[in-house]
């Protein structure tokens, strides 16, 4: 297969199958329910707020900054593999056909984020009487053009600098992007071509610079590997991704939660599992995220009944995912050989997750007391978290 276009085509096919394989789990997972709740609650709060938003609210500026950020971020999807550094090297001249396709896909895949944010911002812009319909369409068109240029600039900048100092480029593009969105919204149509010209000059400059340099395989391959790792890590929250090496951090500041070894006749499973839970980034941040979401829900949702359901759903999602994460895998571990009369791991998993859920319940209780004062709501919501967690832990126990 010498044709670079064919290579891109077949890799892209594989990539899409891989994405679909895992996205299936993402959209059917527990977190999907949580997201639904969050979006629903967020949307409701937003629409309520729009009814009373003051006319002086700096909607144009806020929109420009947020869209500017969304335009500036995003990394190219090159689908390059480590072996390419050897096998593509003699074909550098033909790399262009491959990369053009890769950049076209990068553009299409990065477009939804600024557009979605803009759609969310549109009612706010209408409510503060900043933008009329034609202006909304014009802004959408500007977003499209700017993103199209930005994907290329990002690529050429990385190419020219071996990927060093990409944050400088992002800062420049963020400022330019925010300014062009702002002038478009603030009805200064004359300024659009002016800022646009600056962006085009910036683009041409880096394009010229990148042409002077050989293709930095190492940078783009590393970038691609990190990108896929992020995706796998994300997918790993919903299903078991094979070969994924979860990263580990010491988290010495939580040392007080990790009790020291107790010698003599003890079971070491709690010693092991507490450390697994706290130090494996995936598990730990999963717990933190879901707990934070629960706390946020209590702070933002005005109806106690919805709070109970929301926090209960999160307690369920947290407990079940932690139990599965700790149980994970049929891989051989040394504790499979530990001399024990009966299985001590399953009860240790129950106890460890229970302990973590008590901390979640405590966080929920404190927030509820702060938000609602001393009333029945904190007591009920805490009880819901504890009861749902315990039931989940016990019922998920059976293999």
């Amino acid at each position: 297969m010498n044709n670079m276009r064919e290579i891109w085509g077949s890799r892209f096919g594989h990539y899409m199958t891989e994405l679909q394989k895992y996205m299936k789990f993402v959209f059917t997972g527990h977190l999907a329910i949580v997201m639904l709740f969050t979006i629903g609650a967020g949307g409701y709060a937003y629409s309520e707020w729009l009814k009373e938003v003051p006319a002086t609210f700096p909607a144009a500026l806020l929109t420009a900054v947020i869209i500017g950020l969304a335009l500036a971020i995003g990394t190219p999807v090159t689908l390059l593999k480590p072996a390419d550094i050897v096998f593509f090297l003699p074909m550098e001249g033909k790399l262009k056909g491959y990369l053009n396709r890769s950049l076209r896909y990068s553009f299409i895949s990065q477009l939804p984020l600024p557009f979605l944010l803009f759609i969310v911002a549109a009612p706010l812009l209408a409510a503060t009487a900043i933008a009329e319909k034609p202006q909304i369409y014009l802004t959408a068109f500007v977003i499209l053009l700017v993103k199209w240029l930005y994907v290329d600039i990002d690529y050429h900048y990385r190419h020219a600098n071996d990927g060093h100092g990409i944050w400088k480029d992002r800062m420049v593009r963020f400022v330019l992007g925010a300014v062009i969105i702002y002038v478009t919204l603030a009805s200064n149509p004359l300024f659009i071509p002016a800022v646009g010209a600056v962006i085009v000059i910036y683009y041409l400059y880096w394009k010229k610079r990148s042409n002077e340099k050989p293709f930095p395989y190492e940078h783009f391959i590393m970038l691609e590997q990190n990108r896929m790792m992020r995706f796998y890590r994300f997918a790993n929250y919903f299903t078991d991704v094979p070969h994924l090496k979860g990263s580990v951090s010491r988290r010495a500041w939580l040392g007080f939660l990790m009790r020291p070894a107790k010698f003599g006749l003890t079971t070491p499973q709690r010693f092991l599992l507490t450390r697994t839970l706290i130090r494996t980034d995936d598990n730990f941040w999963l717990w933190v995220r879901l707990t934070a979401l629960s706390v946020l829900g209590i702070a933002l949702i005005p109806f106690p009944f919805v709070i109970y359901i929301f926090s209960g759903a999160l307690a369920f999602a947290t407990s079940i995912q932690l139990v599965y994460a700790l149980r994970a895998g049929n891989d051989f571990r040394m504790d499979n050989l530990f001399p024990e009369a009966k299985d001590t791991r399953a009860p240790a998993i129950r106890k460890t997750v229970s302990a973590f859920q008590l901390v979640q319940a405590a966080a929920v209780f404190v927030t509820a007391v702060i938000v609602t004062g001393i009333s029945v709501t904190p007591i009920i919501v805490t009880a819901v978290v504890i009861v749902v967690s315990e039931i989940t832990i016990r019922f998920s126990d059976k293999k």
Binding site: T266, P268, L337
Partner: protein, 249 residues
């Protein structure tokens, strides 16, 4: 009395057995080498012995008990060093040792004394608070070796221990094995490093296609292969040629 008795064991991953009527014993104070070509069934044999696989037929006893009679006593009687180091990425070196000590019910004093000696022997004292991700292949192997030796069981089962270890590490390992043997322990060691096996092992078991092709001291093996002056290397190669001959015949 034999520490390990493998009696007419037939077994494998699927219904089709890999091991066919395997029989051998390891006595007290013995260092026995398990050798054989790739795919001869060494790892499968070890998996059966450590209780990760159940034999289809036959039985295995460690210290006189089978796994089903008393899993706890069976497991307590041996420690195992796998071919590829299997560590907990989330535990430091110190915690690996502590975990092992807890699992095998060591007292704090015993633990402190034994681990200090091992850490010194394997030159790992300065890495107590390191996580495995910062260890080289050889260091990971050393962690496994230290955990296994910390327990001081009556039987050590060691799968291909020399790969990845530096020369000093290999020397330390062999010294440790000799020392444990002197204190009454037995060792079953699978390896491809034949000169070392020849030099250190009291007996050698040659596995071939899931059967014991020959076993005994070097002299016994020389007789069995009818090569009076051969080294273990030469015996091994001649077995390979025999197999080639069988395949071509």
């Amino acid at each position: 009395m034999a520490i390990l008795e493998v009696n007419e064991v037939t077994g494998g991953y699927t219904r089709k057995p890999v091991l066919h009527g395997l029989t051998f014993e390891i006595g007290k104070n013995e260092l026995v080498g398990l050798i054989g070509l790739n795919g001869a069934g060494k790892s499968t044999t070890i998996k059966h012995i450590i209780g990760l696989m159940n034999p289809h037929q036959g039985e295995i006893k460690i210290g006189g008990v089978t796994f089903s009679e008393s899993p706890e006593a069976y497991r307590k009687a041996f420690s195992y060093i796998p071919e590829t180091p299997i560590l907990y990425e989330e535990l430091t070196l110190r915690e690996h040792l502590e975990l092992t000590a807890m699992a095998y019910g060591l007292d704090k004093d015993v633990f402190e004394a034994r681990s200090a000696a091992l850490l010194k022997e394997f030159m790992m004292e300065k890495r107590l608070n390191w996580f495995p991700s910062h260890f080289s292949k050889g260091m990971r192997q050393k962690v496994m070796i230290m955990c296994a030796f910390l327990v001081e069981p009556s039987l050590y089962i060691i799968d291909e221990p020399f790969v990845g270890l530096d020369p000093i590490g290999i020397r330390s390992l062999l010294e440790q094995i000799e020392e444990r043997k002197a204190n009454g322990a037995s060792v079953l060691m699978s390896t491809h490093v034949l000169p070392t096996a020849e030099k250190y092992c009291d007996r050698i078991i040659v596995l071939h296609e899931g059967k014991v092709r020959a076993q005994g001291t070097m002299d016994d093996l020389r007789k069995a292969f009818n090569r009076p002056k051969a080294t273990l290397d030469e015996l091994y190669i001649s077995m390979t040629e025999e197999r080639d001959y069988e395949q071509h015949a």
